[in-house]
Symmetry: C2
Subunit: 216 residues, 2 copies
DNA sequence: ACATCTCCTTAACAGCGTTAAGTGGCGTCG
DNA sequence: CGACGCCACTTAACGCTGTTAAGGAGATGT
């Protein structure tokens, strides 16, 4: 009967476990007690590694970013269009990989400088394509915020594959907007094929960058 | 010594009071007990008017929308560019008018069909400018989600005029990103002049709509 | 007059993030 | 060897949260 002692925790193990649990219970179910239970520990133990829950969420967001960056093949020969597409498709994919991923991500701040290298590489590629640094920042920032807004909305309606938030299906919306024919018709377009709608928005942004900043 | 009886509550009074209180205490301080206290009532009384807190937040978001729509002059002679600019500037202004406005707004769903008329008018104007309905929906949706993403970020860094979130000023960011010159330089551009940055993003989107959908 | 409906109160519940204090095991030092 | 001290955690508790159950006062209807 050995008690089989656990190895001590560290920030990484906690964040990993919390991310796994996030997908099972969602953000509102992600309590410190639940995370601790998963780690075979009591809740206050987490305060040894994180000063409060937000610090843990920050670490989770940072880890989400690290995994996203690790999975992205950054071809230095990309055109700026391809790079912006890859960045934002990758970001959306990463956020969709976690329940409430967008809410966790945009409510948090990175804990380290892990994003430095990729940010630098992206800015370099954009500026070498003929954009000024300010233009590159605007382009990156605008697409980034669009993507965050998009996925936030997407996950609000559909927190995870399967399961829809109650009281917001197309039929009910159509009933409430009867009398507004264009609005009602628009509803059909609004709740299907998120992939293609996301792409369309990205294309709009990229067309705008090309037009306004005169980049090839 | 008259007890000076209160008039009975209704959903509107509750939502109005909650919105006023939101600006004083922020979303995390907006508890049912605090709202009830403001209304000279006990917390469970609110459950007579709303089935749960989310229903109250939904009503608040709807009221935010109503006030925004009421303050917007919708000139039928607008070009589609002007209209999209007005809509999204108005939305941003409305969200910035409340502490955590963007989080409340994008976490909620409208309770009625108040948005019907304006949505219909906007879609009509866009389609009469030569866009297909699908294009109009894409244009409106993309700008809308950009604006929500932008203000969410903006209010995350600066929840209200004054008061910044701790641990994220430009100096600390620059220190962490030393060694990444473009990224460090970009930081200066990232945290100042939100108004102008918002405008720039909007212009990118509008340029993209013009270019991709070939509208005048 | 009694019953009904409306709107609110009191009391309580489980669960939350968080803090304070204590405790067992380990490494180091006298 | 024994004592000290640090690490990583536990136990206990606090004030707070959203929410439910039960009841009660006051107007309204018959």
């Amino acid at each position: 009967m050995k008690p089989e002692k656990r190895a001590p925790l560290d920030r990484g193990r906690v964040a990993d476990t919390a991310l796994r649990l996030l997908n099972e219970v969602g953000l509102e179910g992600l309590t410190l007690r639940a995370i601790a239970r998963e780690l075979d520990v009591k809740a206050p133990a987490l305060y040894w590694h994180f000063k409060d829950k937000q610090a843990l969420l920050d670490e989770m967001a940072t880890e989400m970013y690290r995994r996203m960056a690790a999975g992205a093949a950054l071809d230095p020969a990309d055109t700026w269009r391809e790079r912006l597409l890859k960045i934002n498709r990758g970001l959306r994919g990463a956020l969709l990989g976690y329940r409430d991923g967008a809410r966790v991500f945009s409510g948090s701040r990175f804990t380290g400088a892990d994003h430095g290298p990729e940010l630098e590489a992206n800015l370099r590629l954009l500026t070498e394509s003929g954009l000024t640094l300010a233009q590159a920042v605007h382009a990156g920032r605008t697409t980034h915020l669009y993507t965050l807004g998009f996925v936030t909305e997407e996950q609000g309606v559909r927190p995870h594959p399967d399961e829809r938030r109650e009281g917001y299906d197309v039929a009910e919306r159509a009933r409430r907007l009867a009398g507004y024919p264009l609005a009602a018709e628009a509803g059909k377009l609004l709740f299907d094929d998120y992939d293609q709608q996301f792409e369309e928005g990205l294309e709009l942004l990229i067309a705008g960058i090309a037009a306004r900043y005169g980049a090839g």
